[in-house]
Amino acid sequence: MSPELSPTVERNRRLLKARDEMDRLYREELDVKGLAALAEMSEAHFIRSFKEVFGETPHRYLQRRRVERAMYLLREQESSVTDVCFDVGFNSLGTFSRTFKEIVGVSPAAYRSGKRPAPVPSCFISSWTRPSSFGEAQRRDSPYSDPTAAGAESPEATEATR
């Protein structure tokens, strides 16, 4: 009754295992070797296949995962930018700040002073606010660009829709 799974389906599933491991253990030092082993591939093949299937390298995916969590902590908690940096798995403040700005479009401190997202389940927030690898940070209308910039939605603007 059940069809044999195609090599593409099998490969996608193995790659997802490695990606899930990054989601779960994003705070820790993760090496490509271990992730490639989970996907049952050589390192080079893993990186190439990951990029083909998910549109970005494993390294970039992990950075976005960490930055996404950092965004959450900056929004929801009082801890310092330095604490957030180490808490999400970066080991240098310089790298964290540069990566955050590159991906989100604003610095961690500027992001913190911006607005919060809506109270939908955090998992949903994490899927939908996870900074994209595909160019959003450069757009002026990105939800993560400077919140004071023209066009940014003010809390008052949506008050009426409550």
Partner: protein, 149 residues
């Protein structure tokens, strides 16, 4: 007026494997298992909420054409089926350990959220499932929108 939700579905690639996961590991029970010949109507439900069923729907012709079936499998397998099912529990951390011991893939460890403690798992096909131990949710003043209930 719509009164409630009685059924929703999850794409699965193999219904036996699905049963092993949803019943054998997650602890749901079989609600209906009917062989119509060309297809098997197979639903499961949480023991504490028998009126809500999940159809373990096989990705296969003739309900979808062979080309679509392959594409759906490729997408589900890479985790692109979205947020599939959300379950509730009284003990998120305990259940997470129980599921881990049964070999279930934990995708996100239990974490405190504004609405409770939740964690994420994968089914054997790539579907994203979450389990939450809910707590009363208070909406902070500066959040926008509305939450019912």
């Amino acid at each position: 007026m719509i009164k409630g939700i009685n059924i929703s579905h999850v794409w699965v690639f193999d219904q036996e494997e699905a049963l092993d996961f949803y019943v054998g590991k997650l602890g749901l029970e079989v609600s209906a298992d009917v062989d119509f010949g060309p297809m098997r109507w197979l639903t499961v439900r949480p023991k504490g909420q028998p009126e809500r069923e999940i159809l373990l729907e096989l990705v296969a012709p003739p309900s979808v054409d062979p080309d679509a079936a392959e594409k759906i499998r490729e997408l589900v397998a890479k985790g692109a089926s979205g947020f599939t099912v959300g379950f509730t529990t009284d003990d998120a951390r305990g259940l997470c350990e129980e599921l881990r011991a049964k070999g279930v893939t934990i995708r996100e460890e239990p974490e405190e959220r504004p609405y409770g403690i939740d964690f994420a798992i994968r089914d054997p096909f790539g579907n994203h499932i979450r389990v939450v131990e809910q707590k009363p949710f208070v909406m902070p003043d500066d959040w926008q929108g509305t939450v019912a209930g």
